[in-house]
Every structure is written in structure tokens, then in C-alpha cells.
């Protein structure tokens, strides 16, 4: 068995096969990434309005705004759908498609790949019509019996279904590669990508079933009612593991590329595989921890889902160890020393690197808060309060989004052959994003503990019941302004780069493939963990065991109720 060092890998990639300048995946990945960032741009521009609402400042009454966005809830729906669903999925479909293909040195069927991109974009455009015309202001959880326009459900379902085609193509190419290289261990980046796609394909089934069986026929008027509890349960089947679908692509960069960016090596290749195998196994059967307070769901099943949720913390804790070790390795190679003194020797002037380290730091707090939410006892205090948006803005909003922003700072120049515009502004923007989100998190967690509700236009309340929350409200308001500045700075860099001239084929911006201190050579664990299809099957069985006893009684005792289309 031969293993190439990253440099040799680079060199083999310089031969014309499936690589370099003419690599057709480049343009496709660029389209996915840029479409994602356009969605993020629109989404984050609405964000400060939400933050100011939680500072008791209501800008939604401004006539100039009212002509565009009818209500706080329409703005919130757009903000959530564009940032959390559209941006993430498009970025991931570019990133976690390009990287494994390049890692395996293969070119997938490009006609199929472009067809998927076009259909996914069409899905967004279809869903955009009701979203922009206030016909689907049902927030990104769209709990029935609130009933949006059928176009919203059809567009969203098409978009999500296309992500399965991307994932399917990656898994298919990996199977082909395995058949051609039966004795070899899958390269690490591909391993992480395939495990994540397999997890997502299983995870998405809940949402796919909710959309195809329940929401679309009901919104088209083909059936008269819907069972809101079944719909909500299917939603959370997908709704929780989707956060791992957002997080793991960032982990791929933290494990696979950041060590090289820091000048060091990945701590352990086999342990990285173990973490991803664990995610594949236990990411999905955890959704009931969003439904601790729902009636008519067995308490024992809720407790089992809670245990499994705690178990998903283990691979994340492994990641914290491993990634920090590789950064330390890099810093020591760059001349750093001491117990913590090495931290100063990290490449802090590199905005791409810094963004991702800050994303990691935010996730220490985000992950800890997540464990609070997962615990049934503490969840009852923070459930549906402002604590929750506080939590997910330092997880998906920072750990994921700031990592993706950081990745884009080298990935877009690599894909397009354009030079990064205003690198110093980029560095400023990622620090500002980090601090903005940290301040936001303080304000929102604090408001949540005082009982302030999430998703409520508290700046327009008829009665004043949050008199005790003025301090955290001010903090939240400040964060909105900081984040607006951060976003404008970041998108100046991003669009500045895209609008600049192409100066090369992009290959001068090398992919930072990392070496490992402990490699997968002679690793029994790495060899055993090659059995991804078996792990995938085990994950299906586990989901059957943990969701069967929940869904079957619900379906047998279903109770259909009519929909409501005119409440917003």
C-alpha cells in the first residue's frame, strides 16, 4: 500500500487527470459556494432588525421597511431560512463535493452534478416566491397547522432532495473507488465526507417524509387535515441531526486542513475516523430532546434519546482534543513553547485560520450550552426562550458559519484564480463577527434565563412583562450593530474578490492537505472503520429502534386537524 505525502499528492494532482486548472469540479463548486453566500448576505442583512427587536427597538414599523418586509415574523422567516437552510446546504454541497472528488482524484458525472445544482437553485427560487410575498411566514420550523403556500413546501423539498443527489454522487464515487482499490484505506478527507453524507441521507428522511406525505398534499388541499404531532416529530428527526450536517463539514476543515494552515500536523488520523464513525452512528436518533414537553410521547423514549444526545458529545470532545493538539504541534514547529505560550505563535494574521480558531472557541460555549439543552431537567427552564437563539448563533451562526467564511477566504481564490481582496479587512471582519456573536450570545442567554420568549416581537408588546431584562436587551442591541459592521466588511472582501480579475488558474493557492502524526498505516482501527456501509446500516437500525416506538402509536392514534393560512 502506498501513501502519498501531501506534497506528492499535490504533484500527482498537477498531472492533467481530474485535476488542476481544467478540473471541471472547480466551476461547479464555485457556483454552489457563491450562491450560498448570496443567500447568507440577504439573510444577515435582516439579522440586525431581529437583534434590535430584542433590544426593544422596533424598526419593522418604518414605512420604508414595511414596503419590503410586512412583519417581524416574515423577516424572521427569511433570516432563518436563508442563513440556516439555504446558505449551509449550498456551501456544503460545494465544499463536501469538491474535496472528496479531488481527494480521490476522480471526476464525477458532471452533467448530473450540474443538473442537481440547477434543480437545487430552482427549489430555492420556487420557495422564495411565497417567502417574499408573505405567503409562508411560518418560520423555518413551519410547524403545522400553520399552513404556508404549497410553493414553499415544494421548493424546500426540492432543495433538500437535491442535497441527497449530491451526497449520493459522493457515496457512489467512493464505492467505485473502493472497488478499484480494494486493499487501500480511504483517504481521510473522503472518509469524513462520505460518513457525513451517509449520516445526512438517513437524517433527511424525516423531513422528506413530512414534506411529501404530509405537508405538500395538505397544502394543496388534497387532504383536509394534518396531525401536527406527527409532523413535528418527523421534523425533529431531521431537525436535530441537521446541526451535525452543518457542523461536520467545518470539522473536516478543522481536522483535515487547519493543521497545515497552522504549520503542523493532524494529531491522529485513526482517531479522526473514529469520531466521524461515531457521528454516523448516533447523530440521528436524538430528535426527541426537542420534544421533552410534548404530550403523548413516551417518557422512556424521551430518556433514551437524551442518553444518545449526550453520547454525541463524546466525538465532539475528541475533536476538541485532537484539533487543539494539532494547533499546538504547528505552533511549536513555528518556534512557540511553554504551557500556553505557544498560542501566540499561531498564524493570527491569516484571516482564514483565525476565523476558524475563533469558530472553535465559540463552539466551546455553544457545545456546553447544547448539553444544557439536551438535559430534560434544564431544558424545561430554557425551552423556547431567548436562550435558544443565543445558543444556535454561537453554534451554527459561528462555529459553522465563521468556519465556512474562513474556508471561503482560501477556497474561493483556489476555485476562481482570483486574489483575495483586502485581506486585512477580512481579518477585521472575522474578529468582528466573533465578538458580535459572543456579545449576542451573552445578551440572549441572559434574556432567556429571565424568561424572555424566543421568536416574539417583544418590541411591539402591548404589556411590559420583561422589565427585568433591560441590561441584556441593551447588550443584544449592541451586538446587532457589531454584526452589521462585521458582515459589511466580510462581504466587501468576498464580493471584492469575486469581482476582481482572474490572475491564475487558482492552483497557486494550494489545498492545505495535512499530514498526520499518527497515520492510518498499520492502524487496525482505521481498517475496521472502513466498514462504513455496515455502520450506516447499524445507524438505520438504531433509528428504527428509537423512532419506531414513537411514531407507530402516533400514526395509529393520528388526529387530523385543519390548517390556518391567514394568521400572519
Amino acid at each position: 500500500m502506498t501513501t502519498l505525502t501531501p506534497q506528492e499528492r499535490q504533484d500527482t494532482l498537477s498531472t492533467p487527470t481530474a485535476s488542476t486548472a481544467g478540473y471541471p469540479m472547480k466551476r461547479l463548486a464555485q457556483f454552489y459556494i457563491v450562491t450560498g453566500f448570496i443567500a447568507l448576505f440577504v439573510g444577515v442583512m435582516i439579522g440586525p432588525l431581529q437583534a434590535l427587536n430584542y433590544a426593544d427597538v422596533n424598526l419593522y414599523n418604518l414605512p420604508i421597511l414595511r414596503n419590503i418586509i410586512k412583519s417581524y415574523y416574515q423577516g424572521l422567516t427569511l433570516h432563518g431560512v436563508l442563513n440556516a437552510l439555504v446558505f449551509t446546504q449550498f456551501f456544503i454541497s460545494g465544499w463536501m463535493f469538491y474535496m472528496p472528488m479531488r481527494d480521490l482524484k476522480v471526476t464525477p458525472n458532471m452533467k448530473f452534478a450540474w443538473g442537481t445544482y440547477i434543480a437545487m437553485t430552482l427549489g430555492v427560487l420556487i420557495a422564495a416566491v411565497p417567502l417574499l410575498t408573505n405567503k409562508a411566514s411560518v418560520l423555518y420550523t413551519f410547524y403545522p397547522p400553520l399552513q404556508g403556500s404549497p410553493l414553499f413546501y415544494i421548493g424546500a423539498a426540492l432543495m433538500v432532495a437535491c442535497s441527497l443527489l449530491v451526497g449520493g454522487q459522493v457515496v457512489f464515487e467512493w464505492f467505485k473507488w473502493k472497488r478499484a482499490h480494494p486493499k487501500q484505506i480511504t483517504p481521510l478527507i473522503t472518509y469524513m465526507s462520505v460518513a457525513t453524507w451517509m449520516m445526512w441521507i438517513l437524517a433527511s428522511l424525516g423531513l422528506v417524509a413530512e414534506a411529501l406525505i404530509l405537508l405538500i398534499p395538505w397544502s394543496l388541499g388534497l387532504v383536509s387535515g394534518i396531525d401536527p404531532l406527527i409532523a413535528r416529530t418527523l421534523f425533529w428527526w431531521t431537525g436535530h441531526p441537521i446541526v451535525y450536517f452543518w457542523l461536520l463539514p467545518a470539522y473536516i476543515s478543522w481536522y483535515g486542513f487547519m493543521p497545515r494552515q497552522a504549520g503542523g500536523r493532524l494529531a491522529s488520523d485513526p482517531l479522526t475516523r473514529l469520531a466521524f464513525a461515531m457521528f454516523l452512528l448516533v447523530s440521528v436518533p436524538v430528535g426527541l430532546h426537542h420534544q421533552y414537553s410534548d404530550p403523548n410521547i413516551s417518557g422512556n423514549m424521551k430518556t433514551i434519546h437524551m442518553l444518545l444526545t449526550f453520547m454525541v458529545a463524546v466525538p465532539s470532545l475528541l475533536t476538541a482534543f485532537s484539533v487543539t493538539a494539532s494547533l499546538e504541534d504547528g505552533a511549536r514547529q513555528r518556534g512557540g513553547g511553554g504551557l500556553v505560550g505557544w498560542i501566540r505563535y499561531l498564524p493570527w494574521k491569516n484571516a482564514s485560520f483565525t476565523a476558524q480558531v475563533l469558530a472553535m472557541i465559540s463552539f466551546i460555549f455553544g457545545g456546553a450550552g447544547g448539553i444544557v439543552n439536551a438535559s430534560a431537567v434544564l431544558d424545561s427552564v430554557v425551552r423556547n426562550t431567548a436562550w435558544i437563539p443565543g445558543h444556535f448563533h454561537i453554534t451554527v451562526g459561528t462555529a459553522t458559519t465563521l468556519s465556512f467564511m474562513g474556508i471561503a477566504l482560501w477556497f474561493i481564490p483556489h476555485l476562481t484564480g482570483k486574489k483575495l481582496f483586502a485581506p486585512k479587512l477580512a481579518l477585521f471582519s472575522v474578529w468582528a463577527w466573533f465578538w458580535g456573536m459572543m456579545i449576542f450570545a451573552v445578551g440572549m442567554h441572559w434574556q432567556g434565563l429571565l424568561g424572555v420568549s424566543r421568536r416574539a416581537q417583544i418590541s411591539a408588546m402591548a404589556q411590559n412583562i420583561y422589565d427585568n431584562a433591560h441590561v441584556p436587551q441593551v447588550i443584544t442591541g449592541i451586538s446587532g450593530v457589531v454584526l452589521l459592521v462585521a458582515s459589511l466588511a466580510f462581504f466587501t472582501t468576498l464580493f471584492g474578490t469575486l469581482l476582481s480579475k482572474t490572475v491564475s488558474d487558482g492552483e497557486d493557492v494550494k489545498i492545505p492537505w495535512s499530514e498526520a502524526i499518527s497515520t492510518h498505516e498499520d492502524s487496525k482501527m482505521a481498517r475496521r472503520l472502513e466498514a462504513l456501509p455496515a455502520l450506516w446500516l447499524a445507524a438505520f437500525v438504531l433509528v428504527g429502534l428509537t423512532y419506531g416506538p414513537v411514531l407507530i402509536p402516533m400514526i395509529l392514534g393520528r388526529n387530523l386537524v385543519p390548517g390556518y393560512t391567514n394568521l400572519w
Binding site: S71, Y73, L139, T141, Y143, P145, L146, P228, L229, R232, A267, S268, L271, Y292, S293, D294, P295, N296, G299, K302, T303, M306, L307, F310, M311, A313, V314, L317, L318, A325, E328, D329, R332, Q333, I371, S375, A376, V377, S380, V381, R383, T385, G451, S453, R455, A456, A460, M461, A462, Q463, I465, I517, S518, G557, N559, L560, V561, Y564, L567, W568
Partner: protein, 168 residues
Amino acid sequence: MLDHDKLQNAENIWLGVAVVMCVLLFTGVVASFLSGTFPLVSGGHASGIASTRVDPKNLAVTPFAKPGLRQEGTENELFMVAKVFSFDPAFVRVPAGVSINMHITSADVMHGFYIQGSNINLQIVPGQVTTLRYTFKYPGTYNVICNEYCGIGHHNMVTRFVVTPPTK
């Protein structure tokens, strides 16, 4: 430079610590169920979530026809209906120190039922009844907030519980 053996050793210790931490967390929550701080498993406020279903269009034939607090035998039963954008009854007076069975349902869409500053925080689903048993310990006025998005007037869906001193 870090070397392989040293790292692997530290990794294994860390993996052990991570697993122990997660097990302890789980044990802690289960201990809380058993001790009654949040009694999900044996008795108490979350255990009584009953498997009751109703037709939200025909609440008139259910106990929800006349929402409010009433005594049935030795039990205090409180029936409440959440609907856009208010609770019925709009105002509830309950005595402290008395165990109350609360039954809440929705006449239309999803709602929340959250007693500000407490851990009574429930999902109200049309067609289903959310039931819990609770004893208010301290007299006072409590805001009860709908904390599940239900439409344009969602933020104004607030009611009050007035807990009166126990009658001795």
C-alpha cells in the same frame, strides 16, 4: 513537536474523561427525575401528560367547554384553552400549597405555555391535551406566556396566574 506515543496516551485519558462526564450528566438527570426536582419517571408534574386526544373544532363536548379551575372529588382540575392570541380563561386564581392538575389544549395552531421564571414550559398541540400536576409554593402574580410562534399577534398572547396565600 509532539510525538505519537505521548499524544495517544493523553488521547485515551481524554476519551475516558469525556465518556465519564457524559455518563455522570445522564445519571444526574435521572437522579433529578427520581428525586422529584423534575419528576418525569415517577409521579409529579411531567408524568401526568396523558394520552388524551380531542377534536379542536368540537371542544364543546369535552371538559374544555367550560375552561377554568374546579374541584372534582378531592382533585383540583384546571382546564385551559389556548387560541390565537389569548388563553381562556384570561385570568386564573389558584391557591398556593394545593396540588393542581392542569390540562391544556389548543383550539387552532401550536402554542406554548410557559410560566415565567419557572420550569413549567409546555408544548400545546391542537388535538392533544397536555397535562401536568403542579403545586404552586409561593403566592404572587405570574406571567404565563405563549412561547411557540402562532401568528402575527403571538407576542401579545400573555395571561396571568394569581397564586393566593394558602387557606389554613
